[in-house]
């Protein structure tokens, strides 16, 4: 099996039998640049002491993306307004070891494109000597919805930056309102379940595909799996690929999804094994599947642990589960087709 050191969270991953490109661990093993211990021993760029909730997926995403910056490399971190911003940069404290800029909710893309352009201008004039990387974080509200135009502009112009969406599937900062990333039937405070409501009526927006249509060199979708190798490898590629790159990271929110916080890694694993949240990358327009489960699990396994879907398990709602399963199946087939699988 994988000769990756097994530490902590990834121990819950059951090694899969090789199928097609191999099991989850196996397929990741093919990239040989990953040294878990060395990476985890890198200096933290998101300092402890911030005010994010215990078990917050957003924080896990940020920490691990920033770990993919090579030690010694400088970066400017951007951030859309959201839980992350208001909890990690509360005056007079900042959790960021690197230079950091928050502007407003919907303009993280444009703001970092301004920073990156200033870098080009000042470098050209000889005013700065060092190299910088540019990484910005936004939740799904700031990315899929209110910030989509700003993101699209930044990607289309090809700024040398990475936009990272930590997708927790609702506006969590304001108290779990639906976004276009919210899965169908989820119970949110603006799509509450009720006598005549089954939760969110619409399906999720496919943002990775939308950003891929900008013809940028690197787009990837990932989440927290095993020892974070998939996330690390994709973040490193995104950061060190010249030009615009986009990472979509499923980052569960224990408050909004209503699960027991320590279950986060299992939930992520189930999201992948049910093909609700497939892992893939799009490199120079080529779609590549990162992992194909040998035994695709029923969607119910992913939904059951989350309070936001509990109404789906009430007698008489079987048709909702079926419709949701059909939607996931349809998208999975489309993805397989795009990836030439």
């Amino acid at each position: 099996m994988a000769n990756i050191p097994i530490l902590g969270l990834e121990a819950i991953i059951e090694p899969s039998e090789p199928a097609q490109g191999g099991g989850m661990e196996k397929s990741m093993e093919q990239k040989n640049t990953f040294n878990f211990r060395e990476i985890q021993e890198r200096e933290e760029r998101l300092a402890p002491g911030h005010r994010m909730c215990a078990g917050c997926g957003g924080t896990i995403a940020v920490r691990n993306v920033l770990k993919a910056l090579h030690p010694g490399d400088k970066a400017v971190i951007g951030n859309a307004t959201g839980c992350l911003e208001v909890s990690s940069f509360m005056y007079p404290y900042t959790a960021y070891e690197d230079s950091y800029i928050h502007n407003v909710f919907e303009n993280a893309g444009a703001t970092l494109s301004g920073v990156e352009t200033a870098y080009k201008a000042l470098k050209k004039k000889g005013k700065i000597k060092e190299d910088y990387k540019f990484i910005t974080f936004g939740g799904d509200g700031g990315t899929y919805d209110i910030g989509l135009q700003s993101l699209s502009g930044a990607m289309e112009r090809g700024h040398d930056m990475v936009y990272v969406c930590y997708d927790n599937g609702a506006y969590m900062n304001t108290g779990v309102q639906r976004s276009s990333a919210t899965p169908m039937y989820a119970d949110t405070t603006t799509t509450p379940t009720g006598k005549v409501s089954d939760g969110k009526p619409q399906t999720r927006k496919d943002l990775a595909a939308i950003i891929a249509a900008h013809n940028i060199p690197y787009v990837a979708q990932t989440t927290f799996i095993g020892n974070m190798k998939d996330l690390y490898v994709k973040a490193e590629k995104a950061i060190y690929t010249p030009g615009a790159a986009f990472l979509n990271i499923m980052a569960p929110c224990p408050r909004g999804w209503k699960y027991d916080a320590p279950d986060i890694i299992e939930i992520c694993k189930l999201a992948v094994e049910t093909c609700y949240w497939p892992l893939f990358e799009i490199v120079d327009g080529k779609w590549i599947l990162s992992y194909k489960p040998k035994n695709k699990l029923p969607l119910e396994d992913f939904l059951r642990k989350q309070g936001r879907f509990k109404h789906l398990f009430k007698p008489g709602n079987e048709h909702l589960l079926e419709a949701f399963q059909n939607e996931v199946d349809k998208r999975w087939e489309e993805l397989l087709f795009r990836c030439g699988e």
Partner: protein
């Protein structure tokens, strides 16, 4: 050596930008400011300046990128008009509160609706409380000169605020006038290089911009920002003095035209002041004691200084090229009336709305204002309720 030229207001701005050679310009086209990013793009394409242009997808992103670039340590500018400025509204406050010395060329145009592309001050007046310094021009020469002074004011250590350089859409932005330009080298020396104290890309320190701040800290930040606007008054005058030494052209918070012994005065902003001066010359020849106070700096608001300059007037017409939609009049009317009250002025005042959506103002219109001011001073409220100039009908 002064250089005699003929230029439109937008060309004059572009020439000033060329001489300043700023680092970054994000911009989005909107009439009548579109020419400014076009001229800058052409200068970049021809290798005449090494500014980096960001062709953003909206004005909101234009100001957002300007904030990012300025925070990163770049001398930054943008240009806009009307709805473009309105779309920036949210982030104008962020630029000011982050104390970023961004310059914005505002080519004033009516806000919608009805959609209209002509001169009006509703756009920049709508942003008057966003924390930006605002400097207005009567003509092409002034918008050139104001642009050259902008960074010196904005980047000053005791100010560090963004600045809008305003001119009237089409009337000055597109009309070609004689202009006297300065040579490149003296301009470069006057403007100087931008050496910010803290910025995102500073080699030996990391910096964080745009915090969440609880009530225990916010109010102090806002008071410090208010102080910067107060400090800007002295800096604006100091920079104007240095500019006069360079150019021979004198600037202050406002221009007084035949005001010293005037009994009847008009207070106005922008290109209409040319028409008012023409009228004054005509009336003065007949012995009428009429004058003009032309506002150059609206933010910071030099209310006390204006009231002092108007202290001998019997009646004052405050003219706004902007509706207030507050059932009392326009913004200049409201603020100057308050300033006059604080100095216990006894002059009669009237607030007149004029020139909305590019409506022309003629010498005869201004003559009528002065005639009515004389009657107003004698107790005849001849302006009536809610006066407009040049309106076809009140209904």
């Amino acid at each position: 050596m002064a250089i005699k030229e003929r230029m439109s207001g937008n060309e004059a701005v572009a020439h000033a930008i060329k001489q300043i050679n700023p680092d970054v310009m994000p911009a989005f086209p909107i009439t009548p400011s579109t020419e400014i990013p076009q001229f800058v793009s052409t200068m970049i394409a021809n290798g005449e300046i090494d500014t980096e242009f960001i062709p953003v997808e909206s004005e909101h992103s234009s100001m957002s990128a300007a904030i990012g670039a300025s925070a990163a340590g770049a001398r930054t500018l943008t240009a806009t008009s009307s709805c473009g400025l309105a779309l920036m509204w949210e982030v104008l406050y962020v630029a000011a509160s982050n104390r970023l010395p961004i310059m914005m060329e505002v080519v004033n145009r009516a806000l919608s609706g009805p959609i209209n592309i002509n001169a009006e001050h509703s756009d920049s007046m709508g942003a008057r409380d966003s924390g930006w310094i605002q400097i207005y021009a009567e003509n092409n020469q002034e918008v050139y000169d104001n642009t050259l002074q902008a960074y010196r004011i904005a980047e000053h250590r005791s100010v560090k605020l963004p600045v809008m350089i305003c001119q009237d859409g089409f009337i000055t932005s597109h009309a070609v006038e004689n202009i006297t330009l300065l040579e490149d080298e003296p301009v470069k020396k006057f403007v100087g290089s931008y050496e910010p104290e803290h910025y995102l890309l500073k080699e030996d320190e990391a910096m964080a911009v745009g915090p969440y701040a609880i009530s225990g800290y916010c109010m102090e930040a806002k008071r410090a920002q208010a102080q910067a606007m107060i400090n800007a008054k002295e800096v604006i005058l100091q920079v104007a003095k240095e500019f006069e030494e360079l150019s021979g052209r004198s600037y202050g918070f406002f221009e007084e035209y035949c005001l010293e012994d005037a009994e009847y005065a008009i207070v106005a902003i922008g290109s209409v002041c040319g028409t008012i001066k023409e009228t004054i010359d005509k009336l003065r020849a007949k012995g009428c004691r009429v004058g003009l106070l032309k506002v150059r700096v609206f933010r910071p608001f030099p209310g006390e200084e204006m009231a002092a300059a108007l202290k001998n007037c019997k009646a004052i017409a405050i003219m706004d090229r902007c509706e207030g939609y507050n059932a009392t009049g326009g913004p200049l009317g409201a603020e100057l009336t308050a300033a006059l009250y604080r100095t216990k002025a006894t002059a009669e005042t009237v607030n007149i709305i004029y020139g909305l959506s590019g409506r022309d103002v003629k010498v005869s219109d201004v003559e009528e204002v002065y005639e009515k001011l004389e009657r107003l001073a004698q107790g005849d409220n001849c302006f009536g309720e809610y006066p407009y100039i040049g309106l076809r009908s009140n209904n």
